[in-house]
Amino acid sequence: MKSLEDLKKIREDMQKQMNLRAGDENRTRVVVGMATCGIAAGARPVLTAFVDEVSRRNLQQVMVTQTGCVGICRLEPVVEVFEPGKEKVTYVKLTEEKVKKIVSEHLANGRVVDAYTIGAAE
């Protein structure tokens, strides 16, 4: 049962973690395209899968954010990953399963999943 007590516990944990957390400019940013084209292609479950996995693995250094149309509608759902000091990685045609792999390989362990990148799709 999800209770308001659980929410207070989350607040306390977050408040402790936020003091230790890196500034936003030093965190990894995962940007999900959420325009009509992305939504129609399945971007909503992709975004919620990132949120679920980041929460489950407690990846404090990762921020998940949304943007509009990235301009490559036929490859939606599209996600861009910006890591400080590294080149942008663009993942395309994502599914919930692919997201799990990207989180465990790339976000948690720093290994880009080449097979899902735009380079592999073209």
């Binding site: 659980d6 929410l7 939504i39």
Partner: protein, 179 residues
């Protein structure tokens, strides 16, 4: 769109784009009347009457620049194809209220889908706005509001993944208790 929940997401994004600070989403399911109604209300910038008259018309909308306007005409078409219809009221400077109504048992009615997933995505993208979500049946109702959660979070953002996961669980459990 494959599910009405995705139309709700698209329509509520219009409200966010319109600068709303409050967005109310409601889903009403009546077995007695064989009706499914979804509504999105906002206090955003609203529309002028002349623009409002055009916004539900696919022909007028498609003739404008290519980028403009499929979200509302699409939902209108889906509602009309399943024995229902769409109504929009809007006042410049006050806000907009959109209601789509479907015959619940109609063969062509799209499934409702994951409305809670839609809510999670909306809050994730606009954590400082106030959303309310109401789910109503003939017998009972469940309501969720971000204001209620915000008050307990003491400055922690509603876009924190742990908070969003909690919200999903909380709303799903509340809906399960409806009959």
């Amino acid at each position: 769109m494959k599910e009405l929940a995705l139309n709700i997401l698209d329509i509520a994004q219009n409200s966010i784009a319109a600068g709303a600070s409050q967005i109310a989403i409601a889903v009403r399911e009546s077995m007695a009347a064989d009706q499914l109604t979804i509504s999105v209300k906002d206090n955003g910038c609203g529309m002028e009457p002349e623009f409002l008259a055009k916004v539900t018309d696919p022909f007028t909308t498609t003739r404008k620049t290519r980028k403009v306007g499929m979200g509302i005409p699409l939902l209108k078409m889906e509602a009309e194809m399943s024995g229902g219809g769409l109504r929009i009221e809007s006042k410049k400077g006050k806000g907009t209220s959109l209601t789509a109504c479907f015959k619940r048992s109609h063969m062509d009615r799209p499934p409702l889908g994951d409305v809670v997933g839609t809510l999670m995505v909306l809050i994730q993208g606009a954590p400082d706005l106030e959303f309310t979500y109401t789910k109503e049946t003939d017998q009972s109702a469940f309501q969720f509001s971000t204001a209620q959660v915000r008050a307990l979070l003491g400055g922690v953002s509603l876009s924190e993944p742990d908070v969003l996961v909690w919200i999903r669980g909380y709303v799903e459990e509340g809906e399960l208790e409806l009959l």
